[in-house]
Amino acid sequence: MSHLEEGVLHAMLDGEVASTDLKTIQVHLNGCPACTAKFDEARRLRDEAFGMISALDGVPAGLAMAAASFAAPAPAPLTHEPSRRKRVRAWAPPAAWAATIVAALGLGWSLLADRQAMPLPEARADQAPAAVAPPTVGAAAEPADLAQRTATPPKNEQPRQRKPAKEPATSAPPPTPTATSVVRDSALGARRSAEELAVAPAAPRLEGELKKDALKRANSIADRRSALDEVVVAKAAVPSISADQAIETLGGSLRLIDGLTPARFERAGDLIRVVYETRFGRLILEQWRAANVVSHRLIAPTGAPSDTVSAWTERIR
């Protein structure tokens, strides 16, 4: 089989490849590092472009952009072989820990460089340990996820559905890096990824400090944009919440996917994410309230067949 075209990779990311064709593509991706690299690149482009377009809106702009960095549906283009899936899951939690360590080191290194040996503020230094087990980053979050599932049994959540979906939802906006991809990014020297990971979990209580600090260091327009990104990411830490809290945040209206049981609910500011675990990876139904209207968008796991994504979309209630 010749190499996959970029359009096919984007169609796959958008959940537009039928299940009949998906297997062939996945088999090729499994054995072709060049196409796998192109696939990663395509995913990065798609996420970044979507974040940019979302930034044009008033309300969910920063959240939508930053959402690409947290609690991603695990991209699963290559994992239809049971043995491979098992192997990936087995080393994913250690990888998350490794990512945290690398991220913390990266943060420390960059801060040292930026501030020319200026000592870290005590509160910020405390964040590094907090980043060790972020509840929403990749495989490291699984124990917390299980606990959350136990704490919020789906039976109590289903009756909370208030009104039928009025608008067909999206096909596949931004999935986000898993712990695995964070490790890779850090290893490649992606300083910002490291900073995001390290800064995110304890961000809300440090928001003022972060803004002040980041803006102080921003001398150019480009720097200022980076500073904003940093703050936006900090604002977008996604703690798990209960179904009741999700409903309350949305003003009494929460949409769910009929027939699926939510694994947990997450909140980042005014953005609510209902997370489902599917055999293709994490399926996320994002919802936000703006001008008294609740909007939603479905983030399908990468590699989910288009017919499956359509079925999910139609069952949003």
């Binding site: 075209e5 970029e6 359009g7 096919v8 990779l9 984007h10 169609a11 958008d14 537009e16 690149e41 395509a42 990065r44 482009l45 798609r46 970044e48 472009a49 979507f50 940019m52 377009i53 979302s54 930034a55 044009l56 809106d57 008033g58 309300v59 702009a61 009025k166 608008e167 067909p168 939802a169 999206t170 096909s171 906006p173 803004k211 803006l215 327009i221 480009a222 200022r224 944009r225 500073a227 904003l228 703050v231 209207v293 909007s295 968008r297 479905l298 288009s306 359509s310």
Partner: protein
């Protein structure tokens, strides 16, 4: 208002306004254009409403663009909107810079690429995008791939950041 239009309004109003706001940069204008779209839906009820509504909306934007050029005025209608009352001047400035940068990057795309991108961001699947902009479904993936790459490269180009590796 006929029932079917009321239903369409409830389903698609917000989505249309959001897409048009992203396209024109002017929320008020987006609202006006959306009203015009629904007025046309009353006059000629669509069979396949979602692509129809968005196609009409995009046609109106294009038509408005042509009129604007004829009248010698720019279509840069963007006005900064304040999402929160508590935003500091620094935040406001940064946010506006980012929006202006994105808008400027979006303007470098071809009309077709831009529309495909905005429709996809609005949640349309490839069938709907195809029906809305009249492009073969098989070409949507390639169109979106090109549009995304160009958008990101244009934006990064403004910042002096390194472009995306090919």
């Amino acid at each position: 208002m006929p029932d079917f239009v009321a239903e369409l309004y409830a389903q698609y109003h917000d989505s249309l306004v959001r897409m048009l706001t992203r396209r024109t940069g002017d929320r008020d204008r987006a609202e006006e254009l959306t009203q015009e779209v629904f007025a046309r839906a009353v006059a000629a009820p669509p069979r396949n409403p979602r692509p129809w509504l968005f196609a009409v909306a995009l046609n109106l934007v294009r038509e408005e663009g042509r009129k604007s050029v004829r009248h010698g005025r720019r279509l840069e209608l963007y006005r900064g909107e304040m999402p929160t009352a508590t935003e500091s001047p620094d935040d406001e400035m940064i946010r506006e810079e980012r929006i202006a940068g994105v808008r400027s990057a979006l303007a470098t795309l071809s009309e077709r690429d831009r529309e495909a991108l905005l429709l996809q961001a609005e949640g349309m699947n490839y069938d709907e995008i195809s029906a809305t902009i009249g492009l073969a479904k098989g070409a949507i993936g390639t169109t979106l791939a090109r549009a995304r790459r160009r958008l990101v490269e244009a934006y990064r180009g403004q910042e002096g950041k390194p472009n995306v590796a090919s």
